[in-house]
């Protein structure tokens, strides 16, 4: 009787362990291309070829699992020491394979995804484009990396943006803003994630969302809208005042232009865990320029 009890308890223990192992190991995910991904266990050697995904992995505290990144991933500092496998759009397939990854994170537009999959390497195409996407992708990464606090991280980011918005003085509210992405000129509209941040800060984007997230606009449009503040990266800012008709704009005359350094621009244009930092930089600029 005693013996059989011990045997039964042993069987139960084995079953429990097996059950635990199963819940802990198998990971199923549908990525942004709609491709189903099955991972036998949480990946330990990850290559990321999209800067915002690199930042998310590190934000979840899993930086040590990265074994390679693309040439544009530069944050946090530690990823600069990792082997670079080319750019997101021109990655070296064999450099990736040589790193023996058990998961490669790519953007949905990456041409390498199919080729890597054909070589038997698990690929997850995830592309954060707005706030909702950042939440979704962060949670998906949390699931894949088995990080339980992913949702909490998202709530912290979200709450930080909210707090920054609440701390803004009332005079800033309703100010009109033009955010230029590059000097073609392409602008960040209301429907981009930059536009979402601006909306949460309570300012008015002069570029409507129905033009698409980053539309090419007519310079004349900006002159006519005559925004209170212009936000722009420093390489794009050079020569802005010399564009025909721009010198007369209120923001240019009053020097109410937020010029961001390349490092700040990186923060601004990446939908990821540093969105609150981007919001803080925008808030500082607004406070400074709107008196």
């Amino acid at each position: 009787m005693k013996l059989s009890l011990r045997r039964v308890s042993r069987v139960v223990a084995v079953c429990l362990l097996a059950g635990l192992a199963m819940t802990a190991s198998a990971i199923d995910l549908v990525d942004d291309r709609g491709v189903k991904l099955h991972l036998a266990r949480s990946p330990q050697r990850i290559v990321s070829v999209l800067p915002s995904l690199t930042e998310m992995v590190c934000d979840l505290g899993q930086c040590p699992r990265l074994v390679g990144v693309d040439r544009y991933s530069n944050f946090p500092e530690s990823v600069r020491r990792l082997p670079q496998v080319g750019g997101g759009l021109d990655p070296s397939v064999e450099a990736i394979v040589a790193l023996r990854p058990d998961l490669v994170l790519v953007a949905t537009s990456s041409p390498a995804a199919d080729r890597l999959q054909a070589l038997g390497i698990p690929v997850a195409a995830l592309e954060p484009k707005n706030y909702a996407d950042v939440q979704r992708v962060l949670l998906a990464l949390g699931q894949v990396l088995e990080v339980p606090h992913a949702l909490q991280r998202w709530r912290t980011i979200d709450a930080s943006v909210q707090a920054i918005a609440l701390a803004l003085p009332p005079r800033v509210r309703g100010a009109s803003v033009y955010f230029e992405v590059n000097n073609a000129p392409y602008a960040a509209s209301e429907s981009s994630f930059i536009g979402e941040t601006l909306a949460r800060l309570g300012v008015r984007n002069i570029v409507p969302g129905n033009l698409g997230p980053f539309p090419k606009i007519n310079p004349e449009f900006v002159v006519r809208a005559d925004p209170d503040v212009i936000m722009v990266g420093d390489t794009t800012f050079a020569g802005m005042a010399h564009r025909p008709g721009w010198a007369g704009m209120r923001a240019i005359r009053g020097q109410r232009v937020c010029v961001y350094t390349p490092a700040q621009s990186d923060t601004m244009v990446r939908p990821g865990p540093r969105m609150a930092d981007a919001a803080a930089a925008m808030a500082r600029c607004l406070e400074q320029h709107i008196r």
Binding site: R33, L89, S92
Partner: protein, 341 residues
């Protein structure tokens, strides 16, 4: 020396050049196995290490052979285009296939992601099919506008018009959907990085098909080089042959563009390089141009992998620099008393 023996010696020389190009190809192919992000190390470890073996056999081998076939297709298409249009500036993209392929890719990228249905559709067909469809459709459009293949000048002009208009439409798509611009740029630069065995086999099969067809019709191009009236008076079936050659041109170019993106200059430079070495009939010229294009692209691809390893350059950039430089050198040599081109 009689005409016959001269052409015999030229034929002899053409065969020698072909053998030399094949030998260079073989050397380059072996060399290309050892060039890449991990260098020669992967070849040394290929017997013991499955990842190294995968790098050599499933990545470097198909892409090197793929570069060879893509170059061969472009070289062949270039020689056919120059013979068909009797114009030394003709290149494989003359009938608008480059802008057609770009427009196909731009449209596919713009439509993908707009609805789940479109995304799934694109996933199934891939950008490769979109590029191929675009390239073939643009050639058909050119043929329609030129009202057939009979008038060389009309065909050339229609090709230029289609190229410009489709190129502009592609730009328009990018304007409307700037977010696809980066993906588009990757296609325009041209690369062999993503060529696997299946793509390699496809290009090989198309190359064999086109080479056989063109070999069979080469003598018509020789007749055509004397002028259309003379060619007709010789009793050559010009309309039919032209249609077949245009089809081969479109098929070869479309296949290469779809698999490797836009690769500049190989198709234009290869026939000129061959002519600088040997004066021969179109039959040989086309086959030699094909081999020359293959060597040119494979050499460029190997260099592109090696120059900034472990990263790599887009091969299209290198072919433009190398092919352009060599052609310029040939041109200058022509001005010297010893002659060139």
């Amino acid at each position: 020396m009689t005409m016959h023996s001269r052409s015999g010696s030229q034929q002899h020389r053409a065969i020698l050049v072909a053998l030399a190009l094949l030998a260079v190809s073989a050397v380059l192919l072996v060399l290309a196995m050892g060039v890449g992000s991990t260098g020669f190390e992967s070849v040394r470890q290929a017997w013991a290490d499955p990842v190294a073996q995968q790098i050599v056999w499933e990545i470097r081998a198909p892409r090197s052979l793929g570069a060879w076939f893509a170059g061969a297709l472009l070289g062949l298409a270039g020689a056919v285009a120059q013979g068909l249009f009797r114009n030394p500036l003709a290149d494989p993209y003359l009938l608008g296939s480059a802008s057609g392929a770009s427009l196909g890719v731009a449209l596919a990228l713009a439509v993908a992601g707009s609805t789940p249905f479109a995304t799934e559709w694109l996933l199934r067909l891939g950008l490769t099919s979109a590029a191929f469809a675009g390239a073939v459709a643009s050639v058909l459009l050119t043929l329609t506008l030129a009202q057939g293949v009979q008038h060389t000048l009309r065909l050339l002009l229609a090709g230029v018009v289609v190229g410009v208009v489709l190129g502009a439409l592609g730009q328009l798509v990018l304007m409307m959907r700037p977010e696809v611009m980066l993906a588009m740029q990757a296609f325009l630069l041209g690369t062999t990085s993503f060529v696997g065995w299946s793509a390699c086999l496809l290009m090989g099969a198309v190359w064999v098909l086109c080479a056989v067809v063109v070999w069979g019709l080469g003598h018509v191009l020789d007749g055509l080089s004397l002028g259309e009236a003379t060619a007709s008076s010789l009793g050559l079936p010009l309309p039919q042959v032209r249609a077949v050659l245009v089809a081969a041109l479109a098929l070869a170019t479309g296949t290469a563009v779809a698999q490797t993106g836009l690769i500049a200059f190989v198709g234009l430079a290869a026939p000129h390089l061959v002519r600088s070495v040997v004066k021969t009939t179109h039959r040989y010229l086309i086959v030699l141009s094909s081999l020359m294009g293959a060597v040119l692209l494979l050499a460029s691809d190997t260099l592109a992998r090696w120059l900034i390893a472990p990263q790599e350059l887009p091969v299209g950039v290198l072919t433009a620099v190398l092919g352009g430089g060599y052609l310029l050198w040939l041109m200058h040599r022509r001005n010297s008393p010893r002659g060139g081109l």
